[in-house]
């Protein structure tokens, strides 16, 4: 279902979303905040990740998606075993949201 990269994506995406709420800022700003907190040698890779996945993450957070759904939508997580894994509580319409996320994953080019 995506293994370690999926877990890293979900935890970091969830963290960025929480930072945005705590600091009352946009997800774009919290991603920039997160990257700036890293040691210098990790800031360039972080910026590259933001450049690649950031716009989609921002869009999906604006649609109130969870970190689990976002990582599914950007294709780092998947449902290869037929099960949808989630670290955070699922919304009531999780099935519908997951289907939409998988459609995005199938069409989006990062």
């Amino acid at each position: 279902n995506g293994g370690v990269p999926c877990a890293v994506c979900t935890l970091l995406t969830g963290l960025v979303g929480q930072l945005a709420e705590i600091h009352n800022e946009t997800v774009a700003d919290s991603m920039a905040r997160f990257c700036s907190y890293l040691p210098a040698s990790y800031q360039t890779p972080c910026a590259a990740l933001v450049k690649t996945y950031g716009p989609t993450i921002i869009d999906l957070y604006e649609d109130h998606e969870t970190a689990d759904m976002i990582c599914l939508a950007i294709g780092i997580c998947n449902t290869s075993s037929g099960t949808r894994c989630h670290a955070f509580p699922e919304p009531a319409d999780a099935e519908e949201r997951a289907n939409r996320a998988l459609k995005i994953a199938a069409t989006k080019s990062f």
Binding site: Q18, L49, I76, F88
Partner: protein, 430 residues
């Protein structure tokens, strides 16, 4: 595009992929398997090299004439900080000559290496501009903190590290005999199981039976033979496989260690208590909204197939019981090997063996007696490994056990310790 396909991510992905190799220092000019750089399996993991241009100079070396040395008349060839002479006698002879020097070598897993992801990394309420500043030291050490481990811990935990006092078998060996300074090696590898032992000895242990001092080897594969990311018991090591793995490792040690060495066999941990104490508590990633507990995290990791131990980190009580049963069975194999006369006599010219009876239950009991919460014994992010306090308590209890039941394994108290400190101070530190 996968994250590792992004060109800027390549150095980080390459770094992580390198972790699986031979577990020896990457920065090692003279190729003696000791380094002056802390990370990348360097001086955080094994005593700091005091000469990077001469492979004959490294921690653990016997500097006497029997191994071609002059007892460190001018140069400190075993990096213990003792060299020079007083009249016609070298300080190495005077202070260490008959003291029975002994190094310590850990062969094991993430508990032996002290795996730890700082909880503030995942707790948004605690993230500040300084939270991740140590990432460039932590990642090259594979998220392990061997310098704080029960076996080879040697540096104080300060700053953003897990607070507490470091205690270790190494520190106690040095306190007993200052001549042992810097003679430690930590070959602890995340995810290692008994089948890795033989390769660890052959590829990663730096010991020459003719030129180096004897050592205490702690074989400490405490979890991964029953722990993995698979449901059920099919991927657990059987008793027969486990026995063969350990014997292969002991055979390799027989070729590697100097006579007079000792091997401690550490039983498997009983992780069944983890679920009981942790499952209902909030995980750091859920602190902000109080909405993710450890049971949720266990289920999530199991779903992804990446749980460090599905057998114990599961809501399935039957599987937890089966895992405990297998762990007890494998521990009994170690116990049998340590007391089997045929086996022990095979190695008796080089080393003797002792089965460590200290268990996680002993540690928990002691922890509670000291007025602590059991949850504070467990690493908050993984909900699985012992924290610094647990590692230190493990060292203390094992040391007490050795003092009581196997005092011959820890060597003599060196009466020259104070004189060594007076003459050589911190002996070059770490």
């Amino acid at each position: 595009i996968k994250p590792c396909d992004i060109p800027e991510m390549k150095p980080i992905c390459d770094l992580v992929n390198r972790f699986g190799n031979e577990h020896v220092p990457i920065d090692d000019l003279d190729q003696d398997m000791f380094s002056q750089i802390n990370t990348f399996r360097g001086a955080d993991w094994r005593g700091k090299d005091c000469n990077e241009f001469d492979a004959a100079i490294h921690p653990g070396r016997n500097p006497g004439p029997s191994s071609g040395g002059n007892n460190d008349l001018i140069v400190d060839t075993n990096c213990n900080g003792i060299y020079g002479s007083e009249g016609s006698t070298t300080y190495e002879e005077k202070f260490c000559g008959d003291s029975g020097q002994l190094g310590i070598i850990l062969l094991g897993d993430s508990v032996g290496a002290h795996f730890r992801i700082p909880p503030e990394y995942l707790n948004a309420l605690q993230v500040t501009s300084s939270t991740y500043k140590n990432l460039d030291k932590i990642l090259p050490d594979e998220f392990d903190w061997p310098m704080h481990s029960f076996s080879t811990g040697h540096r104080n935990a300060t700053g953003t590290e897990d607070p507490g006092t470091v205690d270790s078998l190494y520190l106690r060996l040095v306190a007993r005999n200052r001549c042992n300074h810097r003679d430690f090696q930590n070959v602890g590898v995340n995810g290692a199981r008994s089948g890795d032992m033989v390769n660890f000895v052959k590829q990663s242990v730096a010991r020459n039976p003719k030129k180096d001092y004897p050592a205490i080897v702690v074989a400490s594969f405490v979890g991964n033979d029953v722990c993995n990311g698979h449901p059920g018991t099919d991927h657990m090591t059987t008793a027969a496989e486990f026995r063969a793995n350990i014997i292969a490792g002991l055979d390799a040690l027989n070729m590697t260690l100097a006579p007079g060495s000792h091997v401690l066999l550490n039983g498997l941990a009983n992780g069944s208590v983890l679920y009981e104490y942790m499952h209902a508590l909030i995980h750091p990633i859920g602190e902000w909204k109080q909405n993710v507990n450890y049971a949720d995290v266990y289920t999530y990791l199991n779903c992804l197939g990446i749980s460090p131990c599905e057998g114990w980190m599961t809501t399935n009580a039957t599987l937890r019981d089966l895992t405990t049963q297998r762990a007890v069975l494998l521990s009994s194999v170690l116990q049998e090997l340590a007391s089997n006369v045929t086996i022990t006599s095979r190695y008796s010219n080089v080393f003797d063996m002792y089965y460590l009876g200290t268990t996680i239950e002993d540690i928990i009991e002691e922890w509670i007696q000291e007025g602590n919460n059991v949850a504070d014994l467990i690493e908050p992010v993984d909900g699985f490994h012992p924290r610094l306090g647990g590692e230190a308590m493990m060292a203390a209890l094992i040391w007490d056990e050795l003092t009581q039941y196997a005092p011959q394994m820890i060597g003599k108290v060196n009466p020259n310790n104070d004189a060594i400190i007076s003459k050589f101070g911190d002996q070059g530190g770490y």
